[in-house]
Amino acid sequence: MRVSHEWLGEMVDLEGVEPAKVADLLTLSGTEVEKVTAFGEGLEQVVVGEVVGLRRVEGSDHLFLAHVATPGQEPREVICGADNLFVGALVPWARPGTRLPIGAEIGRKRLRGIWSEGMLCAPDELGLGSDHDGVLILSPADAEGGMPLDRVYPADHLYELEVLSNRADCLSHWGVARELSALLSRPLRDPETSRPPRSSSAPSVQVAVDSSADCPIYLAELLTGFGDTPAPAIVRRRLAAIGQRSRGGIVDLANYVMFEIGQPLHTFDLDRLPTPESELAVGVRRGRRGESITCLDGITRELDPETLVITVGDAPQAVAGLIGGEASAVGPGTSQVLLEAANFNWARLRSTSRRLRLRTEASGRFERQLSPHLARRGADRFIHLAVRHLGATLGPGAVGGVPLAAAAAIRCDPARISSILGMELSPAEVAGPLRRLQFEVREGRGEILATPSPYRTDVTTAVDLAEEVGRILGYRKVPGTLPPNRQAPPLEALAEPVARLASATCRAAGFSEALTLSLVSGEREGLAPRLIGNLAHLELDNPLSAQLGSLRQGLLQGLLQSAHHNQARGQDQVRLFEQGAAFWGRGPERPEEPWMLALLDLEDDEAVAAAARLRRLMALIASLSSVGGGGVVEFRPVTWLGLHRARAAEVWAGAERRGIVGEVARPGADAFDVRGRVEVAELRLDGWLKPGGRPGHAPPLPRTPALVLDLSVTVPSGALLGPALQAVEALGLPELELVTPIDEYVGDQLGPGVKGWTLRLRLRRPERTLTTAEGDKARQAVLRALELEVGATAR
């Protein structure tokens, strides 16, 4: 919302208070000033000129030649492109040599053979808003020829406010002035109101409100005797300053009161309503199916029982609190109006506004729980101004709804407020800021009784009072302390979290940490390998786009996309990992959120090197499990959707499948537009790795030397090392400490269909040194096991 410094100054004395100071005070107390702009500055060089002659420029279809004069001077020729000029119009004239507030210097310019003596200005060219529809036409009531423009538009400052959603009271100059009055400790001057005597010439009026829950108060006032008088200059100038266009005296006044007091008003042209001779029956009720109304914006809207409407003689005339009907709109020639000052249920208005996709200045105020007490104030202010400035006469009026409850007093111990804020405050220090906010405060023994201003619907409890005191005194004054620390965090908090262990381990192994969005295209993720097999994606009901329409089931999709991003930017080696939740759901129960780790290692297309990278990745997985206390890892070859059919394995540990590892199949890599070979793994860490990592049990180190023997065997070329080593382990030889494959050999010397393995055996007995004979015996046993398992023969 935009407010004017000059306008605020009418309600609270801002003498000597710089706009920057106002902005600072408002911002720190909760009403954030996003921008301060100067309005109407530097207009002293622009003069008011009168158009005394006007014709088209020959040979141009859009240029006009205006003769512009100031009293006592010869008219000058000015070329102008706007089409809203007329003879007699008063216009801002920037003569040659004038510097405009927007920075432009105006000169004499030759156009189509005519010397143009300066320029006639649109509002935006003068720094008076953004309007560029035509030359600013000044009212003879405000301006006269030859006057410098700064006398029509005195310099002002505008504040762009971000009003908090619970502070409907601040959506007006009066409300903001109330804040400033409290913040500056300067008295508040309320806008003047008066209630003239009613005449009885017009028909009488009656209001029937169906539900006071929908509409707690509805004031209807008849006003007659309007001419075509425009609103006073100051009203139009202030409205222009805050970006509102002038729409005729009656509408301008209604708008003015809304921006001044905060109460939205609506005016119906009485002569365009279905008016009976005797009594005008105004109703507030729900819409009915089949009803519709053509609104002020020309759009016809269907009504329904969720929508609140204003009726006259039961015919809908307005959508309550949102927009009026076109049929009863006030316009030129309106001489008598029905004025509405009402309050409508915020929740109802919110849902209606959302359903109709329409938000207006009025609905925006009601939605934030505007105080119903404002209605009377707003009506009185309009009546006061209309009678005084537009020559109107007050006719009969009526009230619908329920008697408004007065704001309830809040009982509160000043010590409690001190303890909430953490600063010692005396009862007087608590009462002071509240009184300045127009709260009624009574001090009793050890407590105060505060009745909030009726316009503050947000203050209902003692904590609310604490906030008022705190923000008006300023949080700058609260001393910063630390809370008492009487209890240490639980011991579990000391264990290093799994996510940290895993991150550190992956980074140490050369993988960089990635983060991707959890929203994916389900279709696209289907092209990436995933630990979870065949499961329908959880879908968003209101996605931003299909690209972000599903919740991810795994993390590899994101990493493949990042791999592509990097490769496309010239990185030939990409090693990334990501950790985070995936989402697996079936049916209406709470979806599962497994904590996943995915790794990706991409380089060129070289098969042997890729196999080595795959091995390294597997070694990293084994390290992760070992560092994280996840036990011994076993890789079981598998055929997995999306992975190379001969380079894929399941990761098993502790009798459970924990993940998959392998090379991305070519079609998958192609789908993500990734060249080269991509080695990947996806692991589920929760339930596997443990916070704090491995417990770190250390058995005594052996004191006897180990006997190390190599065993070379020939095996069929399809033989798998994993089962072979398991078979050796199954022998249960007590002295066999470790078996390490140290070489795999394929070559002509061995012949077709076979390959050679060399295994290194480490044998040891803790109590004595082993003999060569014992070593040979063990080697024979291992060889026999290999024979049985994979058909090995000694080489």
Binding site: T27, G30, E34, K35, L164, S165, N166, R167, R350, E367, Q369, S419, I420, L421, G422, M423, T461, V463, E467, G470, Y475, V478, P479, T481, P483, P484, R486, A488, P489, R500, S503, R507, A508, A509, S512, E513, A514, L515, T516, L517, S518, L519, L538, L540, D541, N542, L544, L551, S562, H565, N566, Q571, V574, F577, A581, F583, G585, G587, P588, E593
Partner: protein, 344 residues
């Protein structure tokens, strides 16, 4: 053989030792003089047996001294030659130590993940435990228990992603605050937790928005916790994150789940508070929302507001990373460009 012969022999040997220019030659010298079977000095020693006991005593002493001297000389020369030969061998294996190198192959932390770990460490110092909660929530925990009934205007700022049936009862949490509720409902005060994690709001991606982003929530509930305590905590944490001299200000605000509510701003690093494009001419940049936990929210969490009070805050590590590292666009954080990651 006389003592004189032995002296001459020794002198010759010493000279040859000194002249030997390789370990191999030196070994030849050793064999010629001290060879076990036919070394010249060895042979001279064998003649001891032929001498009378008196002569043997004299000559034996001389012999021992001579062989001792030769052995020492051999060892010394051997050490000298070994060093020289090792040097030659090493020279042949030279490495250009001036060759520029790539950085060691350790991976790099993601700036946001790294920042979250840093925030966890700062709070660990203050006694806060880092806990996690589910990213999919129900309306109850995400909104209602936090004082945001249906139609509440504050929900406007939480443009929410809802799941499609059959999972229609779930939404992607719009903030980490529901974990506050879970923590309060799950254990008794005193409570000091922080909750880092992902949240989502239905914002179209632009330089300052991504539909999924991170938050770190904090909650402290105990007897006698004050707004001053909140202020002191935030000032400490913000200075830890942005530097000792960075100016901080607290500004009144509104959240349905806190009362009083505050937002914290830091002075804009680009313009030092003078106003620039980065801070939208405000001179300050908003970095977190906070406040004293609303009594109703405490009650919803099973905490008696007459006995306990508390404060809560929520900050955006993505935004803090952008501010701290001078990034131009929040979306860059989720592209995982290695050229960016390698800066950390």
């Amino acid at each position: 053989m006389t003592s004189v012969d032995l002296q001459e022999l020794t002198a010759m040997a010493l000279e040859e030792i000194a002249r030997a220019d390789s370990l191999e030659r030196l070994d030849g010298v050793r064999l010629r003089y001290l060879g076990r079977r036919d070394g010249l000095v060895t042979l001279a020693g064998q003649r001891l047996r032929e001498l009378s006991p008196e002569q043997r005593a004299v000559y034996g002493q001389e012999f021992n001294r001579a062989t001792g001297e030769l052995r020492l000389a051999l060892e010394a020369r051997q050490r000298e030659l070994a060093v020289g030969e090792e040097a030659l061998r090493e020279d042949a294996e030279w490495v250009d130590m001036s060759h520029p190198f790539r950085e060691p192959e350790v991976g790099h932390p993601h700036p946001v993940a790294g920042l979250i770990r840093e925030i966890e460490d700062i709070f660990a110092f203050l006694g806060y435990q880092s806990v996690a909660g589910p990213e999919l929530e129900d309306d109850q925990h995400n909104f209602q228990l936090l004082n945001m009934p249906p139609e509440h205007p504050a929900r406007d700022a939480h443009d929410t992603f809802y799941l499609r049936p059959p999972a229609g009862g779930w939404l992607y949490r719009t903030h980490t605050s529901p974990v506050q509720m879970r923590a309060m409902l799950g254990s008794r005060p005193p409570l000091r937790i922080i909750v880092p994690g992902k949240v989502a709001r239905r914002d179209n991606p632009d330089p300052t928005h991504t539909p999924v982003f991170h938050q770190v929530e904090g909650l402290c509930v105990d007897r006698g916790v004050t707004l001053g305590d909140l202020k002191g905590t935030l000032e400490y944490v913000i200075r830890a994150l942005f530097g000792r001299d960075r100016r901080v200000r607290l500004r009144a605000s509104y959240f349905p789940y806190t009362e009083p509510s505050l937002e914290a701003d830091v002075a804009c690093a680009v313009c030092q508070g003078a106003g620039c494009r980065t801070c939208l001419q405000k001179g300050w940049i908003e970095i977190l929302g906070s406040g004293m936990v609303h009594p109703e929210v405490l009650r919803n969490g099973g905490v008696d507001p007459e006995i306990h009070s508390g404060f809560a805050f929520g900050m955006g590590p993505d935004r803090i990373a952008v501010l701290r590292y001078g990034l131009a666009d929040l979306r860059d954080l989720y592209e995982n460009d290695l050229r960016l990651l390698e800066c950390f």
